[in-house]
Chain length 341, copies 2
């Protein structure tokens, strides 16, 4: 099906078809309608590529990720897609796999394809070197941020996430808090701890150094840390964990050592990774980072940048808490404890 | 930076620049080189979009997935990217989320962007209705297949996967096989069982109906099935599981009921999903479906279709086995048992 077929059916020249479908040039309304009807009847698709050249925009954006693993990038992508109108702006996927040479190659490829802008996402939200593209190319970092203050980033609010977890444990009547989390070099670890300390101080809860344990982001570390807390009788009745895998390890080790969850010890995880949180015995109460919303917001801000808006800096979006059995709150809801002094 | 700047620097007209960079028209070699040098000096990017219009190809393909979840689509995407030369053909990501209206919308969007072809991937390999695009649009199904025999699909060989698992257990000296797997309506469940039965028959192993249990694809089902096998003394010394989550549930339930893995019962999982397989106690031996290779092969076949090659049907790629501790084979390697009669 070509422009020629449309011209024959509409009884006009191909130039007139071009005018009618591209919206350029002067035409009688009746002619334009006849051409459009003919195009529709024949199922002729106006060529988006050709049109985008005229408009100076391609209605494509690049999504450059280093999270091959997918756990964090999938909800991000869903949010980005939602914001970009499910197809009216197309997303090129580029997985740099944490490799700077691959990243450079992809950036060149995206620029030569004239994307309208680039979203950069990562496996963790720690600051990374800026992309190094010309300032005229709109860029937004999502679940990632750059070391340049002129860049624009959207990340979950880790301080808020830490506050939510501990505030919830305090309202569930717990007093002796422990925190088992990932490596201290992660910004997320430091910020979540900061939030946890704030909420603990406000609720009059205790979070001494001996109940604050950093290690790997793994179940094995969760089991090890729980064993340590029990064996040395550090007396925690609530454990806030830095991710759901750690929380699962903690729950398994406690159960296997005869401590009841949540009766003896309440647990809150982080990430609300359904596959882990729901499969844990008992299912995990967990902080949800709202990554879909992070993706959606980043895409909206990218569109604004493409239109020339100049916001920069780091935007931190609030988290939410998904309550399951591990925090012992569901039953308490019916008989709420006295508020903490 | 525009074509005009290049023309000024090279001392030629913009028409000559266009000829030199597009490769169209007659030009003296010396002139072409001067223009190219000027373009390079100024960092002028030839417009891929404009060039693709001339060549009739856009060097883009659409990846239409319904696996929002990402576990299966991520390795597929990596394979597809590798095959497409990491950026020389760009991939538009479209996540239809199992919704036919979204899928239709994305197909329209891909066609109007004139993609050279479409790869369709899914959350499971069962046959689905064909895309319903014009036969002139090249389509390949990856980890998915259509009900039309004219379509081309690449899927893992489930019969081979089932054979690998049971053959391994037989070589580890096991005699009394059980199979705990997902819902029987899945083609994968039927094919893996077929492979398991073939290998069992060849090795003289027993797989009676009472040790063949279908249920959900979950840890909870794995725990339930293991409890059943133990309580009713059905006497399995090896359990081949339909996925790693089931295998993990089986391993947990056996341990908690005092059965030693692998000493008393060997376990083989399926999917080789690192996060589950490596975190299980003991770590799971598991069948790897080779999804990266499925993605790579699908992309190569799509490129061949774009060039006009006509292969159709279902291509089944072999699986591999990743040996960890749960199957009790590592130690046996040093003291291999007598081959099964």
């Amino acid at each position: 099906m070509t422009i020629h077929d449309v011209a024959v059916l509409a009884g006009v020249s191909t130039g007139t078809v071009s005018k009618a479908l591209s919206g350029r040039g002067q035409l009688r309304e009746e002619t334009r309608e006849r051409v459009q009807a003919a195009a529709q009847q024949l199922g002729f698709r106006p060529n988006d590529l050709a049109r985008s050249l005229l408009r100076g925009r391609t209605f494509t954006v690049g999504l450059l990720t280093s999270d091959s693993f997918g756990r964090f990038s999938i909800p991000l992508m869903q949010g980005i897609e939602d914001a970009l109108g499910a197809g009216s702006v197309a997303v090129y996927l580029c997985d740099a796999r944490g490799d700077r040479v691959r990243e450079r190659h992809y950036i060149e490829s995206l620029l030569s394809r004239r994307v309208d802008g680039i979203i950069v996402s990562g496996r963790r939200a720690d600051p990374r070197p800026p992309l190094g593209v010309h300032p005229s190319v709109p860029v937004v970092y999502a679940y990632s941020q750059s070391t340049s203050p002129e860049d624009l980033a959207v990340v979950p609010d880790d301080v808020h996430g830490g506050r939510l977890a501990v505030d919830h444990l305090a309202r569930a009547g717990r007093r002796r808090l422990a925190h088992v989390t990932g490596p201290a070099r992660f910004e997320a670890v430091r910020l979540r701890l900061e939030g946890a300390r704030q909420a603990a101080a406000e609720a009059g809860l205790d979070l001494p150094d001996e109940r604050m344990l950093t290690g790997a982001w793994s179940e094995a570390w969760g089991r090890e840390a729980a064993a340590l807390l029990l064996a040395e009788r550090r007396g925690a009745d609530a454990i806030f964990c830095g991710n759901d895998q750690i929380a699962r390890g903690v729950a398994d080790a406690l159960r296997e050592r005869g401590a009841r969850v949540p009766d003896d010890v309440a647990i809150v995880g982080y990430d609300n990774w359904e596959l882990v949180a729901a499969a844990t015995r008992p299912p995990l109460t967990s902080v949800d980072q709202g990554l879909e919303r992070v993706g959606r917001t980043a895409a909206h801000l990218l569109l604004a940048r493409i239109e020339g808006a100049g916001e920069s800096g780091v935007r931190r979006l609030p988290c939410s808490l998904v309550v399951r059995e591990s925090s012992g709150f569901t039953s308490l809801r019916e008989h709420p404890p006295e508020p903490a002094p």
